[in-house]
Each structure stands twice: as structure tokens, then as C-alpha cells.
Amino acid sequence: MSQTVTKKLMLFFPKCECEKPIIYHLVKDHNLIVNVFRAKVTPEEEGYLVLDVTGTEDDIQQGMDFVKTFNVSINYTSKGVTLDEARCTHCGHCITHCPTGALYIADSATREVAFNEAKCIECLACIRVCPFAACASAF
């Protein structure tokens, strides 16, 4: 069996696709392990979903091909939570509030703060505590 990998994705569902059991099919038909971090349906009935999928490269590829047959856009790069580097002052207030170390001190001499997206579980604590409005959510 080939190696499994984990990918973090953000899916955007336009109005008409919200009722379809897409995650069910990812698990059942494509053998993917799914870990949902955050999901939201807006009053306009648009849906956002940030999740990890774990499986073989082939299974993930096929799963994504399946997702694409719906009117759903897959974002591999832009995540649900972002850090605006131009606004971040590296004050470090977020550090003790981030439960996973996704926000961390990258350089102990300069106290530079960096963001490791892969570790972010989208708890949104940083958005509440950042005094400089440097952390934001896509939805």
C-alpha cells in the first residue's frame, strides 16, 4: 500500500450544493480520513469548510476529482485563518492563546512571530486577541 499523506483544504460551496453529502462520499467511496476544523453556512446559504484529508495521493486525487464534479471550489493555498504580515508587529500577545503553537516565536533573539498554517486548527482565538487586527478569517 502506498504512503498516506494529509492535506489541508478549504472548500467553498455555492448556494445549491449545501445539502449534498459530499463528506460522506469522500469517506465511503474514496477511503479518506476526514478531520473537519471549521464549517459554516452563511445566511446566503453559501458554505465554507476547512478540513484535513488523509489518504494515499491517488485516493485524495480521486476524491478531489469527485468534489469538482459539484459546483464546489477547492482552495489548497488560502486557508480559513490568515496572518497579514504587513499588519503583524510581532508583539507576541497571540502566542499564549494559540493552543497548537501555529503562531510561534520563530527567532528568540528578535522575537519574530511566525505562522505555521499546517498546525492551525482554526479555533479563532488569535482573531479575538490580536490587538493589531493582523489575524483574519476568510469566513
Binding site: 500577545h93 522575537r111 479575538r128
Partner: protein
Amino acid sequence: MKTYEQINNRIESGKAVVLTADDIIDYVEKKGLAAAAKEVDVVTTATFGPMCSSGCVLNFGHSRPKIRMSEAWVEDVLVYTGLGAVDVYLGATQLRHGDPANMYHPGEFRYGGAHVMEDLIAGKQLQLFALSYRTDCYPLREIRTYFTINDLNQAIMLNPRNCYQNYNVAVNDSDRAIYTYMGTLEPNRKNANYCSAGQLSPLLNDPYYEVIGVGTRVWMAGAQGHVYAEGTQHAGGGDRTPKGIPKAGAGTLAITGDMKQMRPEFVRGVSFRGYGVSLALGVGIPIPILNEDVLKRTCISDREILAPVVDYSTDYPQNTGKVISHVSYEQLRSGEIEIEGKKIAVGSLSSYYMALEIANLLADEIRKGDFCLAEPIAYLPKDTKMKPLLIRDKAS
């Protein structure tokens, strides 16, 4: 021994030797105090962090017909108009009209006076709305217009209290989260927040106010400003370590500078959830190395600077004056402190990263001959204490 004049001559000829307060520690250790004092002309210090007692004076010029503003708002933020006809004072912590504040606790405080200051310096167009009671010489009753910083005659930052010498470390001894100007504090001492640049901080490198005084030229968000008075709540007379470092807030500076020369990345509106709005400002202050003593004091390191740990759930609000313990900035910067046997995660509100950048920017300006030093015309008091506000039952 060097004089201000000799140092300025070296700066003007592009020969000044300048180091940051961060680099000077190792440098003196290597070279020895006497040799380094001969060689080094200036040590640069800096800080970047929230400084609530900040604001600015704006002069709008006169409209046709003229108005004597009696109430005014910039971007819906109330400004003080008890000055001349078209002069206003904009305070950093003023909330925007209609902000729900803490009505739905904890409030978000997304925009206020400090954000207006940031936007102004960033060159954004802002709305002015003003009312007047009308006079014979100022007939206009109401004005609404849009302006940028370039339309103003003056935009002068005038801050009554900046650059606290040292500061508290805040913890929360209660069993619920609290929202303070020291950030969000989790219950039962789960986290601690501090707010100082430590060994880089201006007044920690000049603990007895020997070279920083009224008239000292300062780097203020990129502009060349100066110290115009002792800061409010300046109280140099408290407890000190054997090396003379105050063990609590102590000294402060009142500084002023031309906002038209400032850079927006160093003037930033901040929103403290559940507390309010403040201004984060970048300030750099050069220390002239007049003699070995002055140099020795700039070699202070985070290990030797102690900050008081204070409970912000009871002791701070009730003004009990109780200090739980003292911790060093070295411990704080390690990201974890231990108090009464418990390890506590440490965050901060000031940015060492930005302070370091400012200390380096100022050092470069001095090396290039663009920033000369000004000798103080008066010194800050060393022995004053802070007075409380007494609540009296009746007038005596």
C-alpha cells in the same frame, strides 16, 4: 570624556561610532569599558508598544465663511475643541461615536482615535464634521468636509506620557478570563503579559535621567521629535535594584513630533478586546556616550532588569499596591516564568522585533549624519513619587 558638541561634530562628519543597546552589551564585554567609552559615540535605544496617553493637535485652516468649531468629529471620533477656532486635540483612546464599548462584553473596539492617527499618517482621506454656536466673526454653523494630512497646516503629535521606564507583568488570579489594557488574561494565572523592550528600552538605559531630559531629540515614528516635559505619572523615586534599575514603572516622557514626517508602520491603532483603543508607537532615543558611567548604564541586560508581577483581577483594580513577585526580562523573554511553583506561559504587548528595527534605523540615521543629538535644557526629577487620587466626602 566627550561633550555633546564633539559627538555632534563626529556625527556631522559621518564618523560617529553607533551601536544599539542590544549590541553594546557584548561589545563592552569584549573591548572593556574604558576602551569602548573612548570609541563609541552613541548607543541607540528604542521601544514599540501601546502608549495610551497619546494624541495630536490638528489645525484645519479656515473655511469660507469661517467656523469656530465647538464640537467636532474626525471619522466620527470626537475631538476636543476647547482651543482656538480650528485647532482640535484628538486623543488616542477616544472611541468612535456609536461604538457599543463594553455593552456586549467583551467589546471589540475596532476603531478609535489611534486608528484615526494611523490613517492620517498613512495619507488616507478622512471626514471632518463640526458644529458651532455661531459668532459674528465665525458665522458658519456646521461643516462637513474631507481632508488628508497634506491639507492640514499642522499635525503635531503631543503625547503626555510615553516610554514608561519599566512596567508591570499582568496575571489573573480570579477564576474567569479578564480583559485589560494588558491584554486578555486567562483565569488562574494561566498566562502572563508584559510590556517593555527591556534592555533596549530608553529609560532603562539611563536609569537616573542623566542624558535623557527635556529637549532631548527623539526618533518618533521616523520624525525627529523631542521630549517636551516629564511624562505624566513620572515617579523616579521608587524602589531600585543595586544597579539603580527601578523595580516598577517609575520614569515617563512627554514627547512631541511632526506627524507629517512620520511613518505609518510605527503609529498603529490597537484594539484591546474588552478594554478599548490605544496607540502603539515606535520611539527611538539616542544616548550620548559622554563618559564611562553613561556607557556602563547602557550595558544593562535583561537578566538584571526586574518587573513586578501584579494581579489584574483584584490588586490592580482595587489599587492595593500588592506585588506578587519580581521576574527578570530574561525570564519573560524565554516565554515562561515560574511564580510560587507554577509555570506560566508569557506573552507580550510591546514588540521587541519592532524596537530592534527602530534602534537599528536610528543608528543608521546617526551614522549617515542625518540625526544629531540635542543636549537637554532641563532634567527630569529623580525623587518624585506618584500621588493617589483621594475620594473626599466633602470639600474642606
